[in-house]
C-alpha cells in the first residue's frame, strides 16, 4: 500500500549491464533516487546512462540488458517483478514516456487526430464519436489552437513543436501518474520549447504528476526542474536542487557547468572537462 508520504517512485541501487559478443558494459551502476510529485532532471553527457535509466524503469531495454535493483517501487508495485503483461498495463496507464523526436513515435500513415483517438479507444473501448471528442479536447489541452484542423493533418504536415504536443496529448489520455521525458525538447526552437515545457510544468502542478526529465541542457534544467541528478559513467555523482545547480561541488558537475557558454557571462575561453577514474565510486569495469 502507498501512503501519502511515500514517494511516487523509489529506486535503490539500479544496475544495468549490457551483455554482447563484444563484452559486458555496465551502463548504470547503482543509481538511487526517490521521486515525488515534482520535476526531477537527469543530466550528464551522452553515454552517461540517462536513457538507460529511463528505459529500465519501463522495461523497454533489449534482451541483452540485465537489470537489477534493490528497490524499484512505483505506487507500491515492484516494477522489476512485473510480468510483461502487467508491465504493459503500467506502461500504458500509469507511466508514459515522451521521446526526443515525435517523428519516430507517430504513425506516418494516420492523421494525428486519429492516433490520439485510437489511444483513447485502447483505454476506453466504445464509441468512435466519443473518442473523437476526447481527442479534440486533448489537443486543445496541450494548447493546440485549431484542434479540428490539426486533427486531420498527417505527421509530416506538422512542425516538431506541434508533433511534441500531439505526443503529450496522446500520453495524457490514460491519466498517468509518472511521465518519463527523454530529451523531449532538444530538437525544438527555444520559443516552442518554452511552450512545451509550460505544458509539462502545468501537468505536474495541476494534476500532481511526477516528471523525470532527461536532458543534457544544464541551463534549462536549472530553471525548470525542482531537483537534478548529475550522472557520470553510469553513476549519480551529485544531486542538487535545480535552483542550486550553480553551487554544484563535484568536479565533474563543475566541469560541465564551466564548459557551457551562457548569455551575458562571456569568458575568453570555455573550460574543458576533465574526466577522472577516481570519480567513480566503484572501480571502473568498462
Amino acid at each position: 500500500m502507498t501512503t501519502s508520504t511515500d514517494p511516487l517512485l523509489s529506486v535503490k541501487n539500479l544496475r544495468v549491464r549490457y551483455v554482447s559478443s563484444r563484452g559486458v558494459m555496465d551502463a548504470v551502476r547503482g543509481v538511487s533516487f526517490d521521486l515525488g510529485r515534482e520535476k526531477l532532471a537527469i543530466v550528464g553527457e551522452s553515454g552517461s546512462g540517462k536513457s538507460t535509466v529511463g528505459r529500465a524503469l519501463l522495461k523497454l531495454l533489449p534482451g541483452s540488458a540485465k537489470v537489477t535493483a534493490d528497490t524499484c517501487r512505483f505506487e507500491g508495485t515492484h516494477l522489476l517483478d512485473l510480468s510483461p503483461k502487467a508491465m504493459r498495463k503500467v506502461r500504458g496507464h500509469r507511466i508514459s514516456m515522451i521521446l526526443q523526436d515525435p517523428k519516430y513515435s507517430l504513425n506516418p500513415l494516420m492523421t494525428v487526430g486519429e492516433q490520439v483517438a485510437e489511444a483513447y479507444r485502447v483505454h476506453h473501448p466504445g464509441a468512435r464519436a466519443e473518442a473523437r471528442e476526447r481527442a479534440l479536447a486533448q489537443l486543445a489541452a496541450v494548447k493546440i489552437r485549431d484542434p479540428e484542423h490539426v486533427y486531420g493533418l498527417y505527421p509530416h504536415e506538422i512542425s516538431g513543436g506541434m508533433g511534441q504536443r500531439v505526443m503529450i496529448a496522446m500520453m495524457l489520455i490514460p491519466d498517468p501518474a509518472l511521465i518519463i521525458a527523454d530529451e523531449p525538447t532538444s530538437a525544438l526552437d527555444v520559443t516552442v520549447r518554452m511552450q512545451v515545457l509550460a505544458i509539462l510544468d502545468d501537468l505536474v502542478k495541476e494534476r500532481g504528476l511526477g516528471l523525470i526529465f532527461i536532458s543534457h541542457d544544464l541551463n534549462l534544467v536549472k530553471s525548470f526542474c525542482d531537483r537534478v541528478l548529475i550522472m557520470y559513467a553510469g553513476q549519480v555523482v551529485e544531486e542538487l536542487k535545480g535552483s542550486e545547480l550553480d553551487e554544484a561541488k563535484h568536479p565533474y558537475s563543475r566541469g560541465l557547468l564551466a564548459s557551457l557558454p551562457r548569455l551575458g557571462e562571456r569568458r575568453e575561453r570555455l573550460s574543458v572537462l576533465e574526466r577522472k577514474p577516481e570519480w567513480l565510486i566503484e572501480g571502473a569495469s568498462r
Partner: protein
Amino acid sequence: MTAPMLEVENLSLHLGEGTRRRLILDGVSFSLKPGESFGLAGESGSGKSTVLRCIAGLYRHWTGTIRLDGEPLAARPEKDRCRLVQMVFQDPYGSLHPRHKIDTILAEPLRIHGMGDVDRRVDRILTQVGLGPRFRYRYPHQLSGGQRQRVAIARALMLEPRILLLDEPTSALDVSIQAEILNLLADLRTELDLTFLLVSHDLAVIEHMCHSLAIMRAGRIVETLSRETLAHGTPEASYTAALIKASERYDRELAGVLARED
C-alpha cells in the same frame, strides 16, 4: 575604414517548383570586416543555412550582390571562390566520406586544386586541429563526434581560405565537446587570421564567438545587433527580446505570452 571581407547585399532567393515556389530569402544584407566573426541566429526554417549555401556557391539563382574580398562572387571562378571561402556543416557524420581514410579526405581538395606538398600540409593541418598525424590512417567511423568535427574543420582549412562558413558546427555535440571545438575555432581564427560567419540557434554560442549578429525570421533579417546588446538583453525588436529571454531560462509567464503570439 577597412574594406569588408564578405558583403551580402539585398540577397533574395526562391526555391521550389511551380505552385510550391516560395521566397526563401527576402533582401538579406550584412557585412563582415576581415577577422570579424558574425553570427546568424533565428528559428529553424528562417533561412540561415540557405544564406551560407548561397555564399558557398551551392545555389546560383539568387539575386542581389555577394562580394568576397571586394569582388562580386558571380565574377569569381569557382576555384578562386573555394580558396577564399569554405563551409563546415553541423553533422560530422554526414559530411565525411565513410569509406575514405582521413588522409584521402584531407588530400582531396589539394589534388583538385593541383597543390603540391600534400604530406606536409596534411600533417600540419592535423596538428593544427589538435589531432596529430597519426589520425591520417583512420576512417571517420573510428573517430568520436568531436574528432570528426575536427577533421571537417581541417578539410575546410586545406585550401587556406580567408572565410569559414560554420553551419551549427557544435549543435550535434555534448557541451564539453562543444567547448573544445569552440576553443579550437577561436584559436584558429587568431592563428590563421580567419573571418567567420557562424550559424547557430544557440544565442549563447553566438555571443561567445561573434562580434555582432543578425536575427533572421522567415527569410528576412529582423535586426542586426552587437555582442554587447545581446549580452545586456537590450535589442530593439520585440521578437529578438523574446528569443533572448526564452534562451536564458524557463519562465512560465513568458511561455503564456509566446503561446498567445504564435
